[in-house]
Symmetry: C2
Subunit: 135 residues, 2 copies
């Protein structure tokens, strides 16, 4: 069953190629990190800090395209962990249906934080267990 | 009137924050540079060089979302130059209509190069004239 989690922390290091986001249970204490790239980390960070963006950045463009096409961004689900890679879906409501778009968690979280209010982020229970045991 | 142009060159410098793409007329010799960020330059470069992407990168996610929602990416138009900033639209066909999404040229060109075949890139005649006179 998917568990709702929230973005708890972003760690950006300029001397390291790998950046981290930490997801933490909304109704619990479990948390785990996901390694992401510097671009996506910076994009998430700008959104969390609400830094003004005079022109639409890439994740803004994605959200604007979905909305102008009549879709409604619904939620993010991190559905699988395979060989140290997390797989997520971006869920979009369109004409009463839910469409799932395969995404990296970093993009999915950046999109979630672009929306107002931010989209809920779910993680499959077995992904949480695998992520915690991998520590 | 919009003039069709093509991506003629990408200049990526690791010691400089500003990267460049050059657009050149398809049926002519005029060309001009657009300053873009390193992330967008790298994204365009990967697409031009056809470097495999095991997971969808941000511009792939955008293209996949548009297509799974039933839209068809049509073209890019660079429509305005104002205070050294270029403004573009991404044009999407949906249910017989054309939707225009405001975009930075860097994102629009990255999306154009993600599509197979690449989307045509148009530039308004007056933008070309202003861009050339600004040199």
């Amino acid at each position: 069953m998917p568990i709702e989690m929230r973005l708890a922390r972003i760690i950006i290091s300029e001397i390291n190629e790998n950046q981290f986001v930490f997801l933490r249970e909304v109704d619990g204490d479990r948390q785990f990190p996901i390694v992401i790239g510097i671009f996506e980390a910076t994009s998430i960070d700008r959104r969390v800090k609400d830094i003004p963006r005079p022109r639409p950045l890439t994740h803004d463009l994605l959200v604007n395209a979905v909305e102008q096409m009549g879709g409604q961004l619904d939620s993010v689900i991190i559905r699988e962990l395979r060989e140290h890679t997390y797989f997520a879906d971006l869920r979009i409501k369109l004409n009463g249906e839910v469409i799932r778009i395969d995404a990296r968690p970093s993009d999915a979280i950046a999109v979630a934080m672009t929306c107002e209010p931010p989209l809920p982020i779910f993680v499959e229970e077995e992904v949480i267990e695998e992520a915690m045991s991998a520590d």
